[in-house]
Symmetry: C2
Subunit: 451 residues, 2 copies
Amino acid sequence: MNLSEISNVIEQRKDQYLEQLFTLLRQKSISAQNIGIRDCSRLLKSMMEDIGINTRLIETDGHPVVYGEIIKDPDAFTLLIYGHYDVQPPDPLDEWLSPPFEPTIRNGKIFCRGAGDNKGQLMAQILSIKTYVDTFGELPINIKMVFEGEEESASANLPSFVEQNKELLKADLVYTSDGPMHDSGAPYVLLGVRGILYVELTAKGADWENHSGNKGNIVPNPAWTLIDLLRTMRDKNERVLIEGFYDDICKPTEKEKEIIKELPFDREQVAEKIGYKQLDMDGEAYYHKLTMEPTFNIAGFTSGYGGEGAKTIIPSQATLKMDMRLVVDQDPDDIYKKFCAHVKKHAPDIEVKHLGAMAPSRTPANQEVVDIVTKAVSESFNQKPVLQPSLGGSLPDYVWTKILGLPSVVVPYANFDEANHSPNENIGVENFFDGIKCTCHVIYRLGECAR
Amino acid sequence: MNLSEISNVIEQRKDQYLEQLFTLLRQKSISAQNIGIRDCSRLLKSMMEDIGINTRLIETDGHPVVYGEIIKDPDAFTLLIYGHYDVQPPDPLDEWLSPPFEPTIRNGKIFCRGAGDNKGQLMAQILSIKTYVDTFGELPINIKMVFEGEEESASANLPSFVEQNKELLKADLVYTSDGPMHDSGAPYVLLGVRGILYVELTAKGADWENHSGNKGNIVPNPAWTLIDLLRTMRDKNERVLIEGFYDDICKPTEKEKEIIKELPFDREQVAEKIGYKQLDMDGEAYYHKLTMEPTFNIAGFTSGYGGEGAKTIIPSQATLKMDMRLVVDQDPDDIYKKFCAHVKKHAPDIEVKHLGAMAPSRTPANQEVVDIVTKAVSESFNQKPVLQPSLGGSLPDYVWTKILGLPSVVVPYANFDEANHSPNENIGVENFFDGIKCTCHVIYRLGECAR
C-alpha cells in the first residue's frame, strides 16, 4: 500500500468525479426557502449507495439528515464525517456571471451555488471513500457520515438529532470540511469554534417622537436609557461587568499557548484584509483575542433620525443588537440568564429578546488524533497546516464535543475566495481533487494508528 | 377714546379684512424653493403702503426684508413688530383637503399654506394699524415693522440684517406674533426662547463592516467608541460633564420663579399630549425643566444593522445627532468650543460637525412693558394670558435681545391646532380678528403709558 497510488487514481478519474459533483450541484437545495431539499436528499442517498455506503434518510422536525456508514468492525476506529447538502439562496441573481445552478468552469474554478459551501467539500469526502476502496480494496476504519439539510438555516434540528441518535453516532473523531483554507493558501486544522449569544434590546420612551425643543427634558430619551445601561455592562477598558460573565472561561493550555505563538501572522496583510490600517497588535495577541477571548459586540444601534442634516426630535425607541462570541466553557444559556439579570437590575423596562445562540467548542490540542490528522493533512498538501485552537466564528461544533463528548477537527478544502453566501460562489477545481486526496490520507493515517 | 370702538370697526370690516388676507395667502412665497418670494414681497409692500405705512424692500444676501414704519415723533415710544411672509413647502400635496394656495373656510377655519404660519398673524398686525388709525385718527406710538422672507429657512440673513441696521431698528419693544396659543385656548405671553446647538458626531472603525465572528476583538467598534465618549459627557444623573457647560446659566429671578409656580399644568393632559402616560412631575418642575434648564438630547444614533433579526457584523461607522437646547446666557459658539475640546481630549478621532445654532433669549419679567403687554392681551381676550419666561423651543429672538438689547415678547394668535408646517395648515377666522384686536389693544396701552 502506497499513498501515491491515491493521486494516480484521482488523476485518471477527474472527468468522472467532476461530473458527479456537477450532478449534485445542479440539484437545487435551498433550505431557507424549502426548494429542492427532498430531491437533493434522495439524489445524495442514491449517489452514496452507488459507492457502497449504507445510506438512509433520517427524518427530523425539519429537513432530513442523510446518514451513511461503512462498518468494517464495530470495535475498529470510527471516523464520523459531517457536512451539509443545503445551500444559501442565490440572490442577488443579476450579479452571477453564469447561472447559479449550472456549474461552470472558468479560470480553474467551478462556479455554482453550493460549490464551496458545502457540496464540493461534501462530495470530496464521499468520493474519497470510492477512491480509497478502489485503490486499496477496503477501508482501514469505520466511516459514518452525517449530512444535514439545515446548516444554512442555523442547524435548527441538528442538536436534537444528535441527542436522539447518540448510539448510532458513536465514533472516535468527528471530521468536518467546510469554509475556506487559510488566507495564505495553506491548509487549516481547526480545533474548535467560538460560541455565540445574540440578543436584541429595546428601550421605549414616549409613544411617538416628540419635538426636542417643546418637550426636551420632559420626555425620557430611550437612546440615553440604552447607553446608561451599556455603561453598567462594560468599563472603558472593555471589560464586561455582567456578574459571572468570565467565570467559566478555561485558560488556554500550555500546548494551546505554544500553538498560538507559532501561528503565521502578517500584520500588514491582516490590516489590509479587515480594512483597518491602524491595526496594532502582534500575532500572539491577535490569535489570543480571536480564539481565547469572548466578545461583547454591538452589531447595531438604531434610534431616532439617521438621515442627512438635522432633525430635532426625541426618539420614541432605541434598538440595540448585540452578539457575544463565547469561548469554552461559557454556556450561552447561562450567559443569557446573567445578561437578563443584569438588565433587570439596572434597566428593568428594557426588553430583551433572544435571537440565537450556539455553544463554543474546543478539542484539546494534545490528543493523538490531532497529531495524526495534522500529519495527514501536511503530507497530502505537502505543506504544514495552520493549526488553530479555535475559529473566531461560530459553527454547531458543540453537538460533537458537548453532546457526544468527541474530539472534532475542521479541515476546510475550499479556496479562501470561495465567495460562500455570495454571488459567483466557487471552488477551485484542484481544491476539489485535493479534498478527495486529503480525506484519503486522513483515513489512511487513522487506519495505520488504529491497527 | 374707547377701546370697544375697535371691536365695532373690526366687526364691520370682516369681509374686507378677510379678502385682504386671502390676497396675501394666494401669493405663493416658498423660501426654501425660492418660489414667489419676490412677488410676495412686492405685494406685501403695496398692501402696507395702501394702509399708509412707509414701506421699502431692504435687500439681504438672501430674500428681501419688507420694512415699514410710521414715525409719529422720533422721541416717542417705538414698537417694532416682527413677522415673516415666507411659508413652508406644501408637501405632501395629496393630504390637503383643499388646494394649499387657495384659502378655503371650513368649520370656522381658514385653510391655506401660511394661514397660521405666519401670514394670518402678520396680516392681523398690519390691519391693526389700519383699524387703529381709522378708529382713533392716529397712532399713539411709533411703529416699525420687519417682515423677513427667510424664517422657514432658518432666518439665515436676519442676524446680519439686524447688525447692519441697528439705527433704523431702534425701538423700545419688539413684538412678535407667531406660533400657536396655549393648548387650553388661553392667550400666551412668551418672554424668550431656548437656544440650540446641533452637532453630528461620526466615529469610524474599519473601512468596511467586518464579520463579528472572524474579526471580533480585532477590529474596533465605532458604536462603542461613541458610547465610551458619551459616558464621559454625561453622568447617570443626567448631568452634563463637559467642562464649563453650565457656567453661564443665569438662575431664574424671584419673579420668574413666581411665574413658573403659577403656570397652568394638567399632568394628565400633558402626559397624553406627549404620549408618555408615566410622566411624573408637577407643574413647577415641568416648567423649570422646559424653560430654565438646557437639554443634552440624542436626536439620532445610527450604527450597523437595524433590520429584522440578527446580522453578525462589526459596524464600520457610528453616527450621532445631538441637539442641546441652551438657556440664557449660554452662548452656542462658546458651548460648541467646549464640546469640541471635550471630544478632542477624550476621543480625538471622532469627527464633529456643526449643523446649526441659535442663541437663547429671555426678556426680564419684571419690566413695565411686560406688564403693559400682559394687561392689554388680558383685556383683549378677556382672559388671563399664560405668561411663560421661555419657550422650550428655539426662535431667532436673540437678534432683538442680544444684538439690539431690547425687550421682546411673543404673543401668538394662531389656534393650538394650526398644523403649521403640515398639510391643512389653518388659522381660526376668529383668531385672525382677535389678533387685529389684540395688536390694537397693545398699541393703545403702550401709548397710554408712553404719554
